[in-house]
């Protein structure tokens, strides 16, 4: 296990919280400005994929990181004794 893989529970909790706050902010911005974003997405210009892919990357990073951190330090840790690698 390398040093960069090491992470305390507290650090993971802080990162998860920041990720969740960031994701909530992003979701709020998107849903509060639906009309503007939809017209941009239907513009059929390069701005449409740029907008959608930026939002998708930000959402998957923020929310995905938060979920991954939470599950890693709860369910995954709990199941550590049950890990299999039979192949």
């Amino acid at each position: 296990m390398s040093a960069k893989d090491l992470e305390t529970k507290k650090a993971a909790a802080v990162k998860a919280l920041l990720g969740l706050i960031g994701a909530m902010l992003l979701y709020f911005l998107v849903f509060a400005n639906t009309d503007m974003i939809n017209s941009l997405l239907q513009s059929k210009s390069y701005r449409a994929p740029l907008t959608s892919m930026t939002i998708v990357l930000a959402a998957s990073f923020l929310y995905g990181m938060a979920v991954a951190k939470i599950l890693r330090h709860t369910l995954e840790t709990k199941l550590k004794s049950q890990q299999l690698r039979e192949e």
């Binding site: 296990m1 893989d5 090491l6 992470e7 305390t8 529970k9 507290k10 993971a12 979701y27 998107v30 849903f31 639906t34 974003i37 939809n38 997405l41 239907q42 513009s43 059929k44 210009s45 390069y46 449409a48 994929p49 907008t51 959608s52 892919m53 939002i55 998708v56 990357l57 959402a59 998957s60 990073f61 929310y63 995905g64 979920v67 991954a68 599950l71 890693r72 330090h73 369910l75 995954e76 840790t77 709990k78 199941l79 550590k80 004794s81 049950q82 890990q83 299999l84 039979e86 192949e87």
Partner: protein, 368 residues
């Protein structure tokens, strides 16, 4: 994984739907099911998520666009998670990626040819028959292998080497060592698997159904590495699809974001699941799903034959057959996710009975 990104030549103007709480909740659920299957199998999200969204009233093209856009980010997070577990062979993924695009191109050309010659009903029939033939063969092959393993029959005890073994043993140079998967395989064989995956993705939209079993049986890759590598491949096809659909104005970002709420939980659950169940169990879920999807397509054949004017279906039979097909389709997702969660729950119950070993560090100390 779906590598096929085929957009209609004439893009029609589409209206974005109004978002209700019920629709938002349904999208969360669809994401959760699709994400869990993707995380566990490396494939299996698209075939259930797209029709499920269409059954909610979304136009087909928007459902496909939302799914492929969501797949882009989901595959990044899923591959990252699998990578942490040492389940992603990037060298294998990159080799397969090259052949995959060629396979998609050939399949799309063939699909177009069938569509031009036989019309929409003929094209549907062609796609369904491809589904039935390929998926039935794959599921029967995998089922037989699982049963053999259960009976404790090893490769040496078989009557002789199977076709898969014969192909696997072909060492046409150059032979590459795939470090993570810890296998040596012919470059040509890896390219063939990539091409077959792309061809199936281009034909029926779900290439992983052949890509994952082919990696397991032809290249000898461990099941969990095949799942992780398939997700790594999905990043590229997802990126291409997300870009093209957005450029044509089909992406409703709200749908994608709501899918994420469920799928990013599901994909982590599925990936964790691969750590606590046996490779044979992962294959069992895959067989169950593939067989039910093949049945779902088989049920639709009379409808397409009727559309082509080859047979006559009684009034009401069309709806009944379509309902039966949907039951098999959605049932496959329900059965798959239920099995995954059941095995994880069993592992959890076993885990709580095991006393912690060497866990003398305070809870705030290092865990991973």
């Amino acid at each position: 994984m779906a590598g096929a990104v085929e957009l209609p030549a004439a893009a029609e103007a589409i209206k974005f739907i109004s978002m209700t709480p019920k629709l938002a909740l349904s999208l969360f659920g669809i994401g959760l099911v699709g994400g869990t299957l993707s995380g566990f199998l490396g494939t299996g999200g698209a075939f259930i998520m797209t029709p499920a969204m269409m059954s909610l009233g979304l136009p087909g093209i928007m459902a496909v666009a939302a799914n492929i856009t969501h797949k882009f980010g989901k595959a990044i997070m899923g591959a990252k998670k699998h990578s942490e577990f040492g389940n992603v062979d990037m060298r294998m993924g990159l080799v397969m990626f090259i052949a995959l695009f060629a396979g998609v191109k050939v399949a799309v050309t063939m699909n177009k040819g069938v569509l031009e010659k036989m019309g929409a009903a003929g094209s549907n029939l062609y796609i369904s028959i491809m589904f039935i033939v390929i998926l039935s063969w794959v599921s029967l092959f995998m089922f037989r292998d699982i049963m053999r393993q259960r009976r404790g029959i090893t490769a040496n005890e078989k009557a002789g080497p199977s076709l898969a073994d014969k192909i696997k043993n072909l060492s046409i140079p150059p032979v590459i060592h795939f470090k993570v998967a810890n296998v040596r395989a012919s470059l040509w064989l890896a390219l063939l698997v990539g091409f077959a995956t792309g061809f199936l993705a281009g034909t029926i939209g779900v290439g992983g159904f052949i890509g994952v079993p082919a990696m397991i049986y032809l290249l000898g890759i461990p099941t969990y590495v095949a799942a992780g590598t398939e997700l790594f491949l999905a990043i590229f096809s997802g990126m291409q699809g997300a870009f093209l659909y957005a450029l044509n104005g089909y992406v409703d970002i709200r749908i994608t974001l709501l899918l994420y709420l469920g799928s990013l939980i599901g994909i982590n659950l599925g990936a964790i699941g691969t750590r606590v169940v046996r490779g044979s169990q992962i294959r069992l879920v895959m067989v169950a799903i593939i067989a039910m999807v093949a049945l779902s397509r088989a049920a639709m054949v009379p409808v397409y034959l009727s559309d082509l004017g080859k047979i006559t279906l009684a009034a009401g039979a069309h709806e009944t057959v379509t309902l039966l097909s949907n039951i098999f389709l959605f049932g496959s997702g329900a059965v798959g996710v239920s099995l995954i969660l059941f095995w994880m729950f069993q592992a959890y119950r076993r885990a709580v009975k095991v006393p912690p070993v060497g866990n003398d560090l305070p809870s705030s100390e290092i865990i991973t």
